[in-house]
């Protein structure tokens, strides 16, 4: 005669039928009650999909930096407590780059880098852009391809040749739709021949446009543009992903040795590990995801409270019906189960519609805004589970009240 007996499959099935018929008798109210859950679940599904999409696209950008990338920037992280920008102090030299290549076998490729801003003039137009002095390995390290022409060679580096590979944004500004390969461009009034056009890469991790730049041999940049013997940074490609940390240590040791730093002095360079960036980015996007998820989670709880409200109203309104059911011999446990099932059925069907609506909404947002959306099966399962739990939790109290009604009083209720 207890709740357990009510849970025998055939009896349970019967009570499910009773609960559904009761919901159908009040179909408008049932639909409005489920609306709270529909909104909650659909916003969870949509928000998590958007959060996941953002995370995936940022992670892809980090990966697009290149495979197994380590970048050594010159200059300490801080000088006398003042945090200075990366590459602000001049400590790295071409000799450092050569030594790294020569002495650390774990390094596959090395690309010394100097950058400067410069005015480009070509084709009767001018454009201010970033000039990056690089080595031929740079493209391989950054996993970057050319759409036309070719990269400069080791020979161009040795001879400090005036050749350039242009980014798509800079090319577009100077030449419009014309293929720039073979054209001349003047960088700070020094004429260069464009020999290659970079594939478009879009915004970088920091949001800067990676296509607005022009690549020239680093030797050319140092001798003809900056007049400086120091590098801004050195890009390193590590052979084996698992060895990144150990290579990073070897690089630190070697550079400290070469710079003759006493043990108590800080590094006068800074190593930027792609993995660290990825981890940071990941933690940031996780926080965003959590935030989006919890805001919609709150709406789910509000929806649950809505269910409790309506169920309580429903118990009051149906007092005589409950009295009748008890009078004709319904066990208190059967009444409790019926009202519990009504609440669960409401929240679960709200959950089902919410999942469908959430998928539709996230697809729409993806299409309209261009955000990448990634619907996660976990969020769908979670939303379902949570809506079931909400129905059971918020249905429990009204169900208990219904089962505790005195049939005599209930039948007399007006």
């Amino acid at each position: 005669m207890n709740l357990l007996a009510q849970l025998a499959p055939a009896r349970l099935w019967l009570t499910i039928g009773v609960a559904f018929r009761a919901l159908r008798r009040n179909s408008l109210r049932s639909a409005l009650t489920a609306l709270g859950i529909i909104i909650g679940v659909s916003s969870v599904v949509a928000m998590v999909a958007i959060g996941n999409g953002a995370q995936a696209s940022i992670t892809a950008k980090v990966a697009a930096l290149g495979q197994n990338l380590l970048t050594v920037f010159s200059g300490p992280r801080r000088t006398g407590g003042v945090n200075s920008g990366l590459g602000s102090a001049s400590t790295l030299t071409i000799a450092d780059a050569d030594a790294l290549q020569r002495e650390i076998p774990g390094i596959a490729a090395v690309s010394p880098e100097v950058t400067t801003a410069a005015q480009l003039v070509a084709n009767g137009r001018n454009w201010s852009s970033t000039v990056a002095g690089e080595s031929p390995e740079y493209l391989a390290i950054r996993n970057w391809k050319l759409t036309a022409g070719s990269m400069f060679t080791e020979r161009d580096v040795r001879s400090a040749a005036r050749v350039a590979v242009i980014g798509s944004k800079a090319a577009h500004e100077l030449f419009g739709p014309i293929n720039p390969v073979g054209m001349n461009v003047r960088v700070r009034n020094i004429p260069f021949v464009i020999i290659g056009l970079l594939e478009s890469k879009g915004a970088g991790v920091g949001g800067q446009n990676q296509d607005d730049r022009i690549l020239i041999p680093y030797t050319t940049a140092m001798r003809r543009l900056t007049g400086d013997r120091y590098l801004r940074s050195i890009n390193l490609q590590v052979r084996d992903a698992a060895a990144i940390e150990s290579v990073q240590q070897q690089v630190t040791l070697l550079l400290r040795q070469r710079h003759r730093l006493p043990p108590d002095q800080e590094d006068d360079f800074n190593i930027f590990n792609q993995k660290d960036v990825a981890a940071t980015v990941d933690s940031v996007t996780s926080v965003i995801k959590l935030l989006l998820g919890s805001v919609s989670g709150i709406s789910l709880v509000v929806g649950g409270i809505g269910i409790m409200n309506i169920m309580l109203v429903s118990v009051t309104e149906r007092t005589r019906e409950i009295g009748l059911r008890i009078a004709v011999g319904a066990q208190p446990a059967a009444i409790r189960l019926q009202f519990l099932l009504e609440a669960v059925a409401l929240s679960l069907s709200g959950g089902l519609v919410g999942v469908i609506l959430g998928i539709v909404i996230s697809q729409l947002i993806g299409r309209v805004s261009g955000f990448v959306v990634a619907i996660s099966p976990e969020s769908i399962a979670l939303a379902f589970g949570v809506s079931f739990a909400i129905g059971a939790f918020f249905g429990f109290y009204p169900a208990r009240r219904a089962a505790a009604l005195d049939p005599i009083e209930a039948l007399r209720y007006e």
């Binding site: 059911r325 004709v328 011999g329 446990a333």
Partner: protein, 262 residues
């Protein structure tokens, strides 16, 4: 099930409510025996304790003291679930305000008590028995009608079918004709007399002497006590009265005030 003991036996039954600080003695020291196959009317003004007595007989309420034996079962000692089980197995209820489920077919309304029966009644059997019960009250052609599509008399017939569907030993009717016009009331009483003739024991609360005259036995209550226990001087037979149309002014059952469950 059957024994030499009377079907219903009340011994020194008391029911006391606490109303604020005052104890209200709704039923005081009632001793009563009802034999199987009887048809009893309980009369009395409001506050006389007739409803409380009725609720106790209906196993909806437990006495404060005294004994209630229903077919040798000590009702006073049963807990809520056991009372529910007993009501479902042995009793049928008919109310003044019908208490039908709205927007629900006559068939489903009648099936209701069978949903709560142990052991489980298969759906097909439930349907068949509900249909039989509706046929017995003359509504075989109204199975799919909702209460709002039916007259008051027809609604009360559904309620009676709902009481019959469990094949009860005892039907308790609380002012079953209170919301019906004269003609329809007589029709309902005809149905009750027919069921009584078929062996079902009936106990009915009414405040209309005309209606009580259809019963075999009339109890009158005052201040929680039974003050008279008599047979009607001239028992009315509803079927005979319906056969002679001059006795009643209205031929057609008219719509009367009737309530449904919200």
């Amino acid at each position: 099930m059957s024994s030499t003991a009377p079907f219903i036996q009340l011994v020194n039954l008391r029911r006391t409510y606490a109303s604020g600080d005052v104890a209200v003695h709704a039923v005081r020291d009632v001793s009563l025996t009802i034999e199987r196959g009887d048809f009893v009317a309980i009369m009395g003004s409001s506050g006389s304790g007739k409803s409380t007595l009725m609720n106790t007989l209906g196993c909806l309420d437990r006495p404060s003291s005294g004994e209630y034996l229903l077919d040798d079962v000590h009702v006073a000692g049963l807990d809520r679930p056991a009372l529910a089980h007993l009501r479902n197995q042995r009793l049928g209820f008919v109310f003044q305000s019908f208490n039908l489920l709205p927007r629900t077919s006559a068939l489903e309304n009648v099936e209701l008590p069978l949903l709560y029966r142990t052991p489980l009644v298969p759906a097909a059997t439930r349907r068949a028995r509900a249909r039989d019960a509706l046929t017995r009250v003359g509504l075989a052609n109204r199975l799919d009608h909702h209460p709002s599509q039916l007259s008051g008399g027809q609604q009360q017939r559904i309620a009676i079918a709902r009481a019959l569907v469990t094949q009860p030993d005892l039907i308790l009717a609380d002012e079953p004709t209170g919301n019906l016009d004269t003609r329809t009331s007589i029709e309902i009483m005809a149905l009750f007399q027919e069921l009584n003739d078929a062996g079902i024991t009936l106990v009915m609360v009414t405040h209309e002497p005309d209606i009580a005259a259809f019963c075999r036995r009339i109890l009158v209550m005052r201040d929680g006590r039974i003050v008279s226990d008599t047979q009607p001087p001239r028992r009315r037979i509803a079927r005979d009265e319906l056969a002679t149309p001059t006795q009643t002014s209205e031929m057609e059952p008219t719509e009367t005030t009737h309530t449904q469950l919200p």
